[in-house]
Amino acid sequence: MRQRTPEEYTYMLNVLDKAESGPIIDQKEFDNICIHSKIKQLVDKYDIHFEKEKSVPADERLADRLFLAGMELALETGVYCIDTQRQMRWNADELDWIIKCTPSTEVLGSGKDSVTILKRRPGDTIRVSVVGGPSGIPVPEDLFESIMLSYAQEPLIDIIDDASLLRTHGRPIRAGSPWEVVGCWQEAKMIFKVLERANRPGLAIGCAENAPTALGEIATTTYGGFRLTDWHHNALISELKTTYSELIRAIQYTQIGCRSHGFYNPIYGGYAGGHEGVSIAIVGGLILMRACYGATTMNAGPSHPHLSCDTHPDLLPAQALAFQALSRNTNLLIANFIRPVAGPCTKDILYEVAALTIASVASGISLVEGVQSARGINSAHCSGLEARFAAQVAHSCEGMTPADANLIVRSLVSKYANRQKELQKGKSFLDIYNLDLVQPTDEWRDVYEAVAQELHTEYGLLLED
């Protein structure tokens, strides 16, 4: 079991100090000046220009300039603490130290079910790790175990990320209320049963998905609940904001030695601006999650303002380039977060998954995370099969360069881009899996096999079993 060092704990106390002593600033001023104006200025200063039509940029100098732009954003903007209305700032020495001491590996899970996440670079042949799960898609209580088993039974999935419960013991789950704790405990109890059924008791769990505040997380990371070897979450709110609740999680994780994962979803067309601004926000945001939370893995899932996805053609190069910037210049263990528009039992979900996965793996991410199907909002519209597909595609393109990935991703984008506005939510788990066997129906399997065959014949990608 890895223990946090006294130095790490002291550092986190200093982080908490920043939330109490940083300059006071109005939130609107932070949004408009520290985020929007600053990012616009950085786009020009570092010449961060790339064509939206190029799905996976392959310009190393541009990637390195983007890294510098992201570092400058982290340095000058920092993180806004909503509770104290203060700007938490890190100086250059602190950021350099943070980057320098970032571990290049992380072990999640335990025993035979553990996985070691490895730092990768663009075009690397090193095996990418895979997080599979609905990542917070709401599901009814009576379907939770079957749905989660559909992921846990997939051998290519290295870490499992929970669904959220629509209700707990028939009651609504209210953020910050006792019902949040009840919901998180129910999530823990049910997912452990799932791991037993899958014979993977040590598999790391992304948790707690029913904890919008620190309450549910802290209450259930204890005896009989979630374990230190699980994958505990910390979020930056868009754009670059935190709360006491998130800082409570961070200090708790540091104190008890939890594995901590940060996630951040910049809004395309919001204060970060367009695709170029979003790429800077991703780089700055992922560095700041290491700085603010001590996260050892972190993902970005930028959101399209009208479609709520990150597979829109404009967002693919922003993510790919940001991942290249970070993987070329740091040891951060970075992840994507696959949130397609389309839902299960459609061909489009698989095209979207493949496009973002190939763009990201070729750009040097260490973890593929997904799939938050059908934009993550439709109850029970998720299944293990799309996560299996993401894992297979990820492994099939290890060693692929960004330039080669670009050709494939552009072709995939042309297959789905025009239909994204239709918001095809696909089918519910109830309609696409046999609940007794927890296996996909013939209909869903046929769709999957047809697209897998397309990837093989059109792009030469061979999906491993």
Binding site: P138, I173, I237, K241, I267, G269, G270, P305, I377, S379
Partner: protein, 231 residues
Amino acid sequence: MPETNWNVIQNDFLQALLASNQVEAFQITRRVLSDNVSMIEFFDRCITPSLEEIGARFENLDIFLPEMVEAASIVENINREIIQPEIQKTVHDSDPANRLLPLGRVLLATVQGDLHDIGKNIVATMLKVNRFEVIDAGTNVTAQNIIAKARREEAKIIGLSALLTTTLPYMKDVVDLLVGLGLRDKFAVIVGGAAVTPEFAKEIGADGYGRTAADAIQVCKTVLGIIVAGG
């Protein structure tokens, strides 16, 4: 005023808004209105098409939220400082200028437990550019505070946003509390945000649901009876 001039004026006004140039936008407004042009004509031929263009550009992501917010803010200032004082001085109930008055006051809030505000900010701006008065109550607001503020501000519509499924119950609280306090008929309640579905809106007894900011405008107009549902 000749037709060609309106095209030039509208384009100049639009460019001033896109450049966040409040001084220029005010100058154009004062210049045009001093030329015996009615406020209705100015609104119809300059402000409305400019705002429609800005809304369309945001829909296409040719401009971004901060630019749209700034443009809306300039128009709000022009409306408050130039147009409304004139209307208040001169209009009678039957006066066509009445249609330049705000369509209604909307109180927007992200419900308790939820700190996400960008979606709400987009809706606020789109409503403002469509002549609604918007009171932004902020994020993480309790049902009690939402209702108290709506009463104090004499809002006609309460608009609620939630990104997290675990904060949806707090939307229902607002409706339940309005019923319990005997205030349900005083406010229309509309809901939206990533976690909200049309089914949920119906289940809690909301008066309207919008998936996008553009939907929110239609829903507000519908609940106020300005347009018929689906119109």
